[in-house]
Symmetry: C2
Subunit: 227 residues, 2 copies
Protein backbone atom coordinates (compact mmCIF):
# COMPACT_ATOMS: atom_id res chain seq x y z
CA UNK A 1 0.00 0.00 0.00
CA UNK A 2 1.56 3.27 1.07
CA UNK A 3 4.64 1.28 2.01
CA UNK A 4 5.94 1.98 -1.50
CA UNK A 5 7.38 -0.15 -4.28
CA UNK A 6 10.87 -0.43 -2.77
CA UNK A 7 9.60 -2.05 0.43
CA UNK A 8 7.47 -4.43 -1.62
CA UNK A 9 10.47 -5.41 -3.73
CA UNK A 10 12.69 -6.07 -0.70
CA UNK A 11 9.84 -7.95 1.01
CA UNK A 12 9.47 -10.15 -2.09
CA UNK A 13 13.14 -11.10 -1.80
CA UNK A 14 12.70 -11.96 1.89
CA UNK A 15 9.71 -14.15 1.03
CA UNK A 16 11.69 -15.82 -1.77
CA UNK A 17 14.57 -16.59 0.61
CA UNK A 18 12.05 -17.91 3.13
CA UNK A 19 10.47 -20.15 0.51
CA UNK A 20 13.86 -21.64 -0.40
CA UNK A 21 14.64 -22.34 3.25
CA UNK A 22 11.16 -23.80 3.80
CA UNK A 23 11.59 -26.10 0.81
CA UNK A 24 14.87 -27.40 2.24
CA UNK A 25 13.18 -27.97 5.61
CA UNK A 26 10.30 -29.82 3.94
CA UNK A 27 12.74 -32.12 2.14
CA UNK A 28 14.57 -32.78 5.39
CA UNK A 29 11.32 -33.61 7.21
CA UNK A 30 10.28 -35.90 4.37
CA UNK A 31 13.60 -37.75 4.43
CA UNK A 32 13.26 -38.18 8.20
CA UNK A 33 9.58 -39.11 7.94
CA UNK A 34 8.53 -36.41 10.40
CA UNK A 35 5.02 -35.02 9.87
CA UNK A 36 5.04 -31.29 10.60
CA UNK A 37 1.94 -29.36 11.67
CA UNK A 38 1.96 -25.58 12.13
CA UNK A 39 -0.62 -23.75 14.24
CA UNK A 40 -1.75 -20.19 13.54
CA UNK A 41 -4.40 -18.05 15.27
CA UNK A 42 -5.12 -14.77 17.03
CA UNK A 43 -3.45 -14.19 20.39
CA UNK A 44 -5.40 -16.08 23.06
CA UNK A 45 -7.34 -18.39 20.73
CA UNK A 46 -6.01 -21.38 22.64
CA UNK A 47 -3.13 -22.73 20.50
CA UNK A 48 -1.09 -23.72 23.54
CA UNK A 49 -4.01 -25.35 25.41
CA UNK A 50 -4.92 -27.32 22.27
CA UNK A 51 -1.32 -28.34 21.71
CA UNK A 52 -0.74 -29.39 25.33
CA UNK A 53 -3.79 -31.65 25.13
CA UNK A 54 -2.82 -33.03 21.71
CA UNK A 55 0.79 -33.75 22.76
CA UNK A 56 -0.46 -35.54 25.88
CA UNK A 57 -2.86 -37.64 23.77
CA UNK A 58 -0.15 -38.49 21.21
CA UNK A 59 2.59 -39.28 23.72
CA UNK A 60 1.75 -42.94 24.50
CA UNK A 61 1.78 -43.95 20.82
CA UNK A 62 3.91 -41.45 18.91
CA UNK A 63 7.11 -39.47 19.27
CA UNK A 64 5.98 -35.85 19.15
CA UNK A 65 7.72 -32.54 19.86
CA UNK A 66 6.93 -28.84 19.58
CA UNK A 67 8.49 -25.50 18.73
CA UNK A 68 6.62 -22.50 20.05
CA UNK A 69 6.96 -18.88 18.88
CA UNK A 70 6.28 -15.74 20.91
CA UNK A 71 7.54 -12.17 20.94
CA UNK A 72 8.56 -12.57 24.57
CA UNK A 73 8.49 -15.03 27.53
CA UNK A 74 9.12 -18.77 27.76
CA UNK A 75 5.63 -19.31 29.25
CA UNK A 76 4.29 -21.48 26.46
CA UNK A 77 7.30 -23.80 26.38
CA UNK A 78 6.94 -24.25 30.15
CA UNK A 79 3.21 -25.05 29.75
CA UNK A 80 3.82 -27.48 26.89
CA UNK A 81 6.61 -29.24 28.75
CA UNK A 82 3.92 -30.55 31.15
CA UNK A 83 2.92 -32.91 28.32
CA UNK A 84 6.45 -34.43 28.71
CA UNK A 85 7.08 -33.88 25.00
CA UNK A 86 10.35 -32.20 23.99
CA UNK A 87 9.65 -28.45 23.53
CA UNK A 88 11.68 -25.42 22.48
CA UNK A 89 10.65 -21.76 22.66
CA UNK A 90 11.52 -19.33 19.84
CA UNK A 91 11.32 -15.70 20.96
CA UNK A 92 11.03 -13.31 18.03
CA UNK A 93 11.56 -9.96 19.81
CA UNK A 94 9.36 -7.55 17.86
CA UNK A 95 8.82 -9.79 14.81
CA UNK A 96 5.16 -10.65 14.21
CA UNK A 97 5.62 -14.13 12.71
CA UNK A 98 7.97 -17.10 12.52
CA UNK A 99 10.24 -17.60 9.51
CA UNK A 100 11.72 -20.83 8.15
CA UNK A 101 15.24 -19.78 9.19
CA UNK A 102 14.12 -19.52 12.84
CA UNK A 103 12.69 -23.04 12.67
CA UNK A 104 15.93 -24.30 11.14
CA UNK A 105 18.01 -22.67 13.90
CA UNK A 106 15.71 -23.96 16.64
CA UNK A 107 16.09 -27.53 15.35
CA UNK A 108 19.86 -27.32 15.65
CA UNK A 109 21.04 -30.11 17.93
CA UNK A 110 17.66 -31.83 18.03
CA UNK A 111 17.31 -35.43 16.87
CA UNK A 112 14.28 -34.64 14.72
CA UNK A 113 14.93 -37.82 12.71
CA UNK A 114 13.39 -39.72 15.63
CA UNK A 115 10.09 -37.80 15.58
CA UNK A 116 6.72 -38.83 14.12
CA UNK A 117 5.18 -35.40 14.71
CA UNK A 118 6.66 -31.92 15.00
CA UNK A 119 4.26 -29.10 15.91
CA UNK A 120 5.19 -25.46 15.28
CA UNK A 121 3.08 -22.91 17.16
CA UNK A 122 3.35 -19.53 15.47
CA UNK A 123 3.17 -16.07 17.08
CA UNK A 124 -0.45 -15.09 17.81
CA UNK A 125 -1.37 -13.12 14.69
CA UNK A 126 -4.13 -13.71 12.17
CA UNK A 127 -2.42 -11.76 9.37
CA UNK A 128 1.35 -11.92 8.91
CA UNK A 129 2.10 -15.65 9.47
CA UNK A 130 0.02 -16.51 6.39
CA UNK A 131 2.82 -15.41 4.04
CA UNK A 132 5.63 -17.47 5.60
CA UNK A 133 6.01 -21.13 4.66
CA UNK A 134 7.73 -23.00 7.52
CA UNK A 135 8.19 -26.28 5.65
CA UNK A 136 5.13 -27.74 7.37
CA UNK A 137 2.99 -30.53 5.86
CA UNK A 138 -0.23 -29.22 7.35
CA UNK A 139 -1.25 -25.73 8.47
CA UNK A 140 -3.98 -25.62 11.10
CA UNK A 141 -5.78 -22.35 11.85
CA UNK A 142 -7.51 -22.04 15.23
CA UNK A 143 -10.43 -19.72 15.84
CA UNK A 144 -12.06 -19.50 19.26
CA UNK A 145 -15.84 -19.17 19.54
CA UNK A 146 -15.30 -15.95 21.53
CA UNK A 147 -13.73 -14.18 18.52
CA UNK A 148 -16.88 -14.08 16.43
CA UNK A 149 -18.17 -15.93 13.38
CA UNK A 150 -17.01 -13.21 10.94
CA UNK A 151 -13.27 -13.85 11.23
CA UNK A 152 -12.89 -15.97 8.02
CA UNK A 153 -14.43 -13.08 6.04
CA UNK A 154 -12.24 -10.46 7.71
CA UNK A 155 -8.97 -12.42 7.59
CA UNK A 156 -9.42 -14.44 4.37
CA UNK A 157 -5.71 -14.87 3.57
CA UNK A 158 -4.87 -16.94 6.63
CA UNK A 159 -7.93 -19.16 6.16
CA UNK A 160 -7.00 -19.63 2.52
CA UNK A 161 -3.43 -20.58 3.39
CA UNK A 162 -4.51 -23.13 6.04
CA UNK A 163 -5.42 -26.78 5.38
CA UNK A 164 -7.80 -27.32 8.27
CA UNK A 165 -9.60 -25.20 10.87
CA UNK A 166 -10.13 -25.87 14.57
CA UNK A 167 -12.93 -24.01 16.33
CA UNK A 168 -11.64 -23.81 19.88
CA UNK A 169 -13.18 -23.09 23.30
CA UNK A 170 -16.39 -24.87 22.26
CA UNK A 171 -17.32 -25.01 25.97
CA UNK A 172 -17.94 -21.23 25.80
CA UNK A 173 -20.20 -21.41 22.72
CA UNK A 174 -23.37 -21.00 24.78
CA UNK A 175 -22.05 -18.10 26.87
CA UNK A 176 -21.15 -16.11 23.73
CA UNK A 177 -24.21 -17.23 21.71
CA UNK A 178 -21.92 -18.66 19.04
CA UNK A 179 -23.69 -19.39 15.74
CA UNK A 180 -22.04 -22.51 14.31
CA UNK A 181 -24.06 -22.43 11.08
CA UNK A 182 -22.98 -18.85 10.40
CA UNK A 183 -19.34 -19.74 10.95
CA UNK A 184 -19.70 -22.75 8.64
CA UNK A 185 -21.21 -20.53 5.93
CA UNK A 186 -18.41 -17.96 6.36
CA UNK A 187 -15.70 -20.65 6.17
CA UNK A 188 -17.39 -22.11 3.11
CA UNK A 189 -17.51 -18.67 1.44
CA UNK A 190 -13.77 -18.12 1.90
CA UNK A 191 -12.51 -21.68 1.52
CA UNK A 192 -15.08 -24.03 0.00
CA UNK A 193 -14.88 -27.56 1.40
CA UNK A 194 -12.49 -26.69 4.21
CA UNK A 195 -12.47 -29.39 6.89
CA UNK A 196 -12.99 -28.14 10.43
CA UNK A 197 -13.34 -29.50 13.97
CA UNK A 198 -15.06 -28.02 17.01
CA UNK A 199 -13.04 -28.72 20.13
CA UNK A 200 -12.64 -27.80 23.77
CA UNK A 201 -9.19 -28.43 25.17
CA UNK A 202 -10.73 -27.81 28.60
CA UNK A 203 -13.41 -30.52 28.48
CA UNK A 204 -11.70 -32.66 25.83
CA UNK A 205 -14.75 -32.50 23.53
CA UNK A 206 -13.87 -33.03 19.88
CA UNK A 207 -10.19 -33.76 20.62
CA UNK A 208 -10.47 -37.45 19.66
CA UNK A 209 -11.79 -36.62 16.17
CA UNK A 210 -8.99 -34.13 15.73
CA UNK A 211 -6.38 -36.64 16.92
CA UNK A 212 -7.75 -39.22 14.49
CA UNK A 213 -7.56 -36.73 11.61
CA UNK A 214 -3.94 -35.84 12.40
CA UNK A 215 -2.78 -39.44 12.81
CA UNK A 216 -4.52 -40.43 9.56
CA UNK A 217 -2.84 -37.59 7.71
CA UNK A 218 0.48 -38.56 9.27
CA UNK A 219 0.02 -42.20 8.16
CA UNK A 220 -0.75 -41.07 4.58
CA UNK A 221 2.37 -38.91 4.65
CA UNK A 222 4.49 -41.79 5.95
CA UNK A 223 3.20 -44.08 3.18
CA UNK A 224 4.23 -41.57 0.52
CA UNK A 225 7.71 -41.21 2.02
CA UNK A 226 10.40 -43.57 0.69
CA UNK A 227 11.68 -45.91 3.42
CA UNK B 1 15.68 -10.88 12.50
CA UNK B 2 16.39 -13.06 9.48
CA UNK B 3 14.71 -10.39 7.37
CA UNK B 4 18.15 -8.86 6.84
CA UNK B 5 19.60 -5.36 7.10
CA UNK B 6 18.20 -4.07 3.80
CA UNK B 7 14.60 -4.74 4.79
CA UNK B 8 15.21 -3.09 8.15
CA UNK B 9 16.66 0.00 6.45
CA UNK B 10 13.71 0.33 4.03
CA UNK B 11 11.27 -0.29 6.90
CA UNK B 12 12.94 2.50 8.89
CA UNK B 13 12.28 4.88 5.99
CA UNK B 14 8.63 3.81 5.83
CA UNK B 15 8.27 4.40 9.58
CA UNK B 16 9.96 7.81 9.22
CA UNK B 17 7.57 8.80 6.42
CA UNK B 18 4.66 7.55 8.53
CA UNK B 19 5.85 9.62 11.51
CA UNK B 20 5.99 12.77 9.37
CA UNK B 21 2.47 12.18 8.07
CA UNK B 22 1.23 11.39 11.59
CA UNK B 23 2.74 14.62 12.90
CA UNK B 24 0.93 16.61 10.22
CA UNK B 25 -2.33 14.83 11.08
CA UNK B 26 -1.82 15.58 14.79
CA UNK B 27 -1.30 19.29 14.06
CA UNK B 28 -4.41 19.31 11.91
CA UNK B 29 -6.49 17.63 14.65
CA UNK B 30 -5.11 20.06 17.22
CA UNK B 31 -6.00 23.08 15.06
CA UNK B 32 -9.52 21.69 14.58
CA UNK B 33 -9.80 20.74 18.26
CA UNK B 34 -10.69 17.11 17.45
CA UNK B 35 -9.63 14.57 20.07
CA UNK B 36 -8.46 11.39 18.34
CA UNK B 37 -8.53 7.97 20.00
CA UNK B 38 -7.11 4.88 18.30
CA UNK B 39 -8.13 1.35 19.28
CA UNK B 40 -5.83 -1.65 18.98
CA UNK B 41 -6.37 -5.30 19.98
CA UNK B 42 -6.33 -8.91 18.82
CA UNK B 43 -8.97 -9.95 16.29
CA UNK B 44 -12.26 -10.52 18.10
CA UNK B 45 -11.38 -8.71 21.35
CA UNK B 46 -14.46 -6.54 20.93
CA UNK B 47 -13.18 -3.24 19.51
CA UNK B 48 -16.28 -2.75 17.37
CA UNK B 49 -18.77 -3.67 20.14
CA UNK B 50 -16.98 -1.28 22.53
CA UNK B 51 -16.91 1.47 19.93
CA UNK B 52 -20.57 1.05 18.95
CA UNK B 53 -21.55 1.41 22.61
CA UNK B 54 -19.21 4.36 23.17
CA UNK B 55 -20.40 6.22 20.05
CA UNK B 56 -24.02 5.71 21.11
CA UNK B 57 -23.25 7.08 24.60
CA UNK B 58 -21.35 10.08 23.22
CA UNK B 59 -23.87 10.96 20.51
CA UNK B 60 -26.33 13.07 22.56
CA UNK B 61 -23.58 15.39 23.86
CA UNK B 62 -20.67 15.28 21.44
CA UNK B 63 -19.96 15.14 17.75
CA UNK B 64 -18.13 11.83 17.26
CA UNK B 65 -17.11 9.83 14.19
CA UNK B 66 -15.11 6.70 13.43
CA UNK B 67 -12.72 5.22 10.90
CA UNK B 68 -12.45 1.45 10.97
CA UNK B 69 -9.69 -0.70 9.48
CA UNK B 70 -9.95 -4.28 8.27
CA UNK B 71 -8.23 -6.43 5.69
CA UNK B 72 -11.58 -7.14 4.06
CA UNK B 73 -15.35 -6.51 4.39
CA UNK B 74 -17.35 -3.41 5.33
CA UNK B 75 -19.00 -5.29 8.23
CA UNK B 76 -17.62 -3.11 11.01
CA UNK B 77 -18.62 0.16 9.35
CA UNK B 78 -22.14 -1.23 8.92
CA UNK B 79 -22.26 -2.24 12.61
CA UNK B 80 -20.93 1.12 13.80
CA UNK B 81 -23.35 3.06 11.60
CA UNK B 82 -26.14 1.78 13.91
CA UNK B 83 -24.83 4.31 16.45
CA UNK B 84 -25.80 7.01 13.89
CA UNK B 85 -22.27 8.44 14.04
CA UNK B 86 -20.50 9.10 10.72
CA UNK B 87 -18.33 6.07 9.92
CA UNK B 88 -15.89 5.14 7.15
CA UNK B 89 -14.31 1.74 6.48
CA UNK B 90 -10.66 1.46 5.43
CA UNK B 91 -9.88 -1.92 3.83
CA UNK B 92 -6.16 -2.68 3.83
CA UNK B 93 -6.09 -5.75 1.54
CA UNK B 94 -3.27 -7.86 2.96
CA UNK B 95 -1.68 -5.13 5.10
CA UNK B 96 -1.65 -5.97 8.80
CA UNK B 97 -2.02 -2.45 10.23
CA UNK B 98 -3.24 1.06 9.44
CA UNK B 99 -0.80 3.79 8.41
CA UNK B 100 -1.14 7.55 8.79
CA UNK B 101 -1.47 8.01 5.01
CA UNK B 102 -4.56 5.76 4.98
CA UNK B 103 -6.14 7.86 7.71
CA UNK B 104 -5.34 11.02 5.78
CA UNK B 105 -6.92 9.62 2.60
CA UNK B 106 -10.00 8.38 4.46
CA UNK B 107 -10.58 11.85 5.93
CA UNK B 108 -10.66 13.38 2.45
CA UNK B 109 -13.97 15.18 2.00
CA UNK B 110 -14.96 14.83 5.65
CA UNK B 111 -15.69 17.92 7.74
CA UNK B 112 -13.49 16.73 10.61
CA UNK B 113 -13.27 20.33 11.86
CA UNK B 114 -16.76 19.84 13.24
CA UNK B 115 -15.85 16.81 15.34
CA UNK B 116 -15.15 16.57 19.09
CA UNK B 117 -14.05 12.93 18.88
CA UNK B 118 -12.60 10.84 16.08
CA UNK B 119 -12.07 7.14 16.80
CA UNK B 120 -9.75 5.04 14.64
CA UNK B 121 -10.20 1.27 14.95
CA UNK B 122 -7.08 -0.51 13.76
CA UNK B 123 -6.83 -3.93 12.09
CA UNK B 124 -7.08 -6.73 14.68
CA UNK B 125 -3.42 -7.41 15.44
CA UNK B 126 -1.55 -7.24 18.73
CA UNK B 127 1.86 -6.77 17.13
CA UNK B 128 2.27 -4.63 14.01
CA UNK B 129 0.01 -1.61 14.75
CA UNK B 130 2.25 -0.68 17.69
CA UNK B 131 4.90 0.80 15.37
CA UNK B 132 2.60 3.08 13.37
CA UNK B 133 1.66 6.49 14.77
CA UNK B 134 -1.71 7.56 13.33
CA UNK B 135 -1.65 11.10 14.75
CA UNK B 136 -3.92 10.02 17.61
CA UNK B 137 -3.99 11.78 21.01
CA UNK B 138 -4.72 8.60 22.91
CA UNK B 139 -4.07 4.96 22.09
CA UNK B 140 -6.36 2.47 23.77
CA UNK B 141 -5.48 -1.24 23.83
CA UNK B 142 -8.33 -3.71 24.37
CA UNK B 143 -7.81 -7.16 25.82
CA UNK B 144 -10.74 -9.53 26.31
CA UNK B 145 -10.90 -11.72 29.41
CA UNK B 146 -11.09 -14.76 27.11
CA UNK B 147 -7.57 -14.14 25.75
CA UNK B 148 -5.75 -14.86 29.02
CA UNK B 149 -3.98 -12.78 31.64
CA UNK B 150 -0.53 -13.32 30.13
CA UNK B 151 -0.98 -11.16 27.04
CA UNK B 152 0.79 -8.02 28.39
CA UNK B 153 3.90 -10.16 29.04
CA UNK B 154 3.75 -11.83 25.62
CA UNK B 155 2.98 -8.68 23.60
CA UNK B 156 4.81 -6.01 25.62
CA UNK B 157 5.39 -3.56 22.76
CA UNK B 158 1.72 -2.81 22.10
CA UNK B 159 0.99 -2.38 25.82
CA UNK B 160 3.98 -0.06 26.10
CA UNK B 161 2.85 2.03 23.15
CA UNK B 162 -0.73 2.39 24.49
CA UNK B 163 -1.94 5.04 26.95
CA UNK B 164 -4.79 3.12 28.53
CA UNK B 165 -6.08 -0.47 28.59
CA UNK B 166 -9.66 -1.73 28.40
CA UNK B 167 -10.34 -5.25 29.67
CA UNK B 168 -13.35 -6.25 27.55
CA UNK B 169 -16.02 -8.99 27.75
CA UNK B 170 -16.03 -8.71 31.57
CA UNK B 171 -19.38 -10.58 31.53
CA UNK B 172 -17.42 -13.73 30.54
CA UNK B 173 -14.86 -13.40 33.37
CA UNK B 174 -16.54 -16.11 35.48
CA UNK B 175 -16.94 -18.55 32.59
CA UNK B 176 -13.22 -18.37 31.77
CA UNK B 177 -12.04 -18.13 35.42
CA UNK B 178 -10.37 -14.82 34.65
CA UNK B 179 -7.85 -13.74 37.32
CA UNK B 180 -8.07 -9.93 37.54
CA UNK B 181 -5.24 -9.66 40.08
CA UNK B 182 -2.91 -11.61 37.82
CA UNK B 183 -3.73 -9.40 34.85
CA UNK B 184 -3.16 -6.30 36.99
CA UNK B 185 0.25 -7.62 38.07
CA UNK B 186 1.18 -8.44 34.45
CA UNK B 187 0.11 -4.99 33.22
CA UNK B 188 2.06 -3.40 36.08
CA UNK B 189 5.16 -5.44 35.19
CA UNK B 190 5.11 -4.25 31.58
CA UNK B 191 3.76 -0.73 32.02
CA UNK B 192 3.90 0.49 35.65
CA UNK B 193 0.98 2.74 36.57
CA UNK B 194 -1.01 2.03 33.41
CA UNK B 195 -4.67 3.03 33.81
CA UNK B 196 -7.18 0.36 32.87
CA UNK B 197 -10.94 -0.22 32.85
CA UNK B 198 -12.93 -3.45 33.01
CA UNK B 199 -15.96 -3.23 30.75
CA UNK B 200 -18.69 -5.26 29.14
CA UNK B 201 -20.15 -3.69 26.01
CA UNK B 202 -22.89 -6.34 26.25
CA UNK B 203 -24.15 -5.48 29.75
CA UNK B 204 -22.82 -1.91 29.80
CA UNK B 205 -20.80 -2.55 32.98
CA UNK B 206 -17.84 -0.19 33.31
CA UNK B 207 -18.77 1.83 30.21
CA UNK B 208 -19.71 4.95 32.23
CA UNK B 209 -16.28 5.12 33.90
CA UNK B 210 -14.63 4.72 30.52
CA UNK B 211 -16.81 7.43 28.99
CA UNK B 212 -15.97 9.77 31.85
CA UNK B 213 -12.26 9.11 31.38
CA UNK B 214 -12.43 9.84 27.64
CA UNK B 215 -14.51 13.01 28.01
CA UNK B 216 -12.15 14.30 30.74
CA UNK B 217 -9.13 13.67 28.55
CA UNK B 218 -10.91 15.37 25.66
CA UNK B 219 -11.70 18.41 27.84
CA UNK B 220 -8.04 18.68 28.95
CA UNK B 221 -6.98 18.47 25.31
CA UNK B 222 -9.49 21.19 24.31
CA UNK B 223 -8.19 23.49 27.07
CA UNK B 224 -4.61 23.13 25.81
CA UNK B 225 -5.67 23.89 22.23
CA UNK B 226 -5.58 27.55 21.13
CA UNK B 227 -9.06 28.87 20.34
Amino acid sequence: MSAGPRLLEVRKNVLKQNDLMARALRERFRAQCTFVVSLVSSPGAGKTAFLEKMLTMLQPHYRAAALVGDLATENDAIRLARSRAPVKQITTGTLCHLEAAMVERALDGWQTGQLDFLFIENVGNLVCPSSYDLGENLRLVLLSVTEGEDKPLKYPTIFNSADVAVISKADLAGAVEFDGDLLKANLEAVRPGMRYFSVSAKTGAGMDECLEFLTERMAEFAQRTPA
